[in-house]
Symmetry: C2
Subunit: 350 residues, 2 copies
């Protein structure tokens, strides 16, 4: 009997591999008593979870950049929590930590597990909890290294980013502006496009739901596209391929339009534009850059502080909302970085 045994952990486990869009039946809700952590380990109460398009990929069988979540396992998710108990040298009770907590109310780690989960203390002076899940978290790191390392922007470049109002896209575009580029977003709906232009300072934003992608690219990228940061794949990737500038760089970060396909992935028919324009298309995975996260956090938190970088999070209340909340990413219903608040009164945004 431990001091936590009166608490109950609730979890979402993967019940089966979804076909197409996940449904409630693809998940199994479980609950179990909270136990003290192993010797040298740490027990964390989840405050908020990051919901990301990549999670859909982790639910599939097959080789990818990370092992799939096993059937019956707690669904993998990044999050931020508070340390409730610790005999780990790196963590003290009360610390705020980020890491792969999983879709559950409490996460217990042995020493090796804590390392594998990337558990690390966060500094609240650099940003709010939601910002630590967004600009200072995986989406921000993805934007930073994808744009700067893979895209290699030069002042005056025309940068196009899809999913422009999403977690990664919002930081890609603002960072490209800071680096002196002309930035054109692609997003779904007037409200997102207006926000991206009026609040974030993008030069233009194309509403793909209005079917304006081709015309919009022609209008807003008269000298072609130097960098395309692709979060969506599908038809939009093809439209951008058709408008590349010479020596263009396409950063393949994701392909959210394809993740719930039951048909084969739609390959980019216009890929020979890479040849015509001596362009390159390159994939990136944020986990390759962990050693350099502190550098990115320092730079991005500076921009947050001086107001050059804004962030928007879309917070859904309640662990029990997880299945429906996740699917909002694929219907485009989220507006900003999607966060699942697990503890109701947690001070996420202050």
């Amino acid at each position: 009997m431990t001091e936590f045994a009166q608490r109950t952990n609730r979890q979402f486990r993967l019940a089966r591999r979804p076909v197409g869009m996940p449904t409630r039946d693809d998940w199994q809700e479980t609950s179990e008593p909270v136990e003290a952590p192993p010797v040298g380990g740490v027990l964390v109460q989840t405050l908020a979870l990051s919901l990301d398009p990549a999670m859909r990929g982790w639910m599939n069988e097959g080789k990818s950049y990370i092992a799939p979540v096993g059937i019956g396992e707690v669904m993998r998710a990044g999050g931020i929590g508070r340390v409730l108990a610790s005999s780990h040298a790196g963590f003290s009770v009360g610390d705020l930590v980020a890491g792969a907590l999983g879709v559950q109310a409490y996460a217990s780690f042995g020493p090796a597990e804590a390392s594998r989960a990337g558990l690390a203390r966060i500094d609240r002076r650099l940003g709010t909890i939601t910002q630590w899940l967004n600009v200072l978290g995986m989406p921000g790191m993805t934007a930073y290294f994808g744009l700067l390392d893979v895209g290699q922007p030069k002042p005056g470049d025309t940068v196009v980013v899809s999913g422009a109002a999403g977690a990664v896209g919002q930081t890609v575009g603002q960072l490209a502006k800071i680096k002196g580029c002309r930035v054109v977003g692609i997003a779904g709906g007037r409200a997102k496009c207006d926000w991206v232009v009026n609040e974030l300072g993008f030069d233009a934003c194309i509403d793909y739901k209005a079917g304006q992608v081709r015309a919009g690219l022609k209008e807003h990228c008269p000298r072609g596209v130097d960098i395309y940061f692709d979060n969506v794949g599908g038809d939009i990737l093809d439209e951008v391929l058709a408008r590349l500038a010479m020596h263009a760089r396409i950063v393949i970060c994701g392909a959210i339009s394809q993740y719930n396909n039951t048909a084969p992935v739609q390959g980019p028919r216009n890929y020979l534009s890479l040849l015509v324009h001596r362009a390159r298309m390159q994939g990136m995975v944020v986990f390759d850059y962990t050693d350099r996260f502190p550098q990115a956090v320092a730079e991005l938190s500076g921009y947050l502080r001086d107001g050059r970088l804004k962030s928007r999070e879309d917070v859904v209340q309640g662990l029990e909302q997880f299945p429906e909340a996740l699917n909002r990413l694929f219907t485009g219903e989220n507006f900003g970085k999607l966060v699942l608040q697990v503890v109701q009164d947690a001070p996420l945004t202050a």
Copy 2:
């Protein structure tokens, strides 16, 4: 009346834009008297022409890396000829020259045209005429800069090249071997595969006509593919994408499987393997490297001389055979670099 007026120039002009595989009706044969060249110009008798897959692309309307051949214009083609008359400072009667001669028996150039056609004297001590159309010509330059500049091979890399017995592929594979790589070719038919392994020294060759691509890649690339030099596109590109090594480089040189498509180009469905493997796919066009051709010619002719580099050309006799000869590229009937011999007794291979 000039000294050449008794000679007749014969030409193949583009009569219309082909749909699918070109037919005789897409060409117009014309003849006209040979005239003295303009002041400061040069008159060249075509000895042999290079027939290349890229020519199919030049017959299509639309933006590409080079303007399409106009309807009624002499078909563009690289070739080697002998100077018959010259008031150009760079050329003397009797010189052997390479350049964009066109599909015609005689080519006349003003000074600016000679420059635009890339007309340059060739040094027969460095290679035979057919070698100057192959290893020391555009195919060899494409192989050299595509492999070395874009592919960036390291010793021990596994290099896969499609169209392995073709003009570009044969040099890509041999050059990769010289640079210390393990080389796997993909070619059509047992004879080509045997030649590539037994004569050129590739480590293995996969016969795509036997439907062995997936199994062959699995067998011969157990640690994945570090560099794929793609001349063909289509299903083979997808199969290689499915077997990339981490940080792989795909050189997009061409897509011969798609050039006669009447349907849209088949995009690579497995392109998200670029993300999984942090790989890049990059297009190249040989004309970007003209300033560095002398460096490549020096290196490649050295390998020819010391026997480390072999070349094979497939010579078709007679300008009048042009339409059928060109199509052999698309059926895979050619075995080695396809050359159209225009002057019957020209010493092409000695």
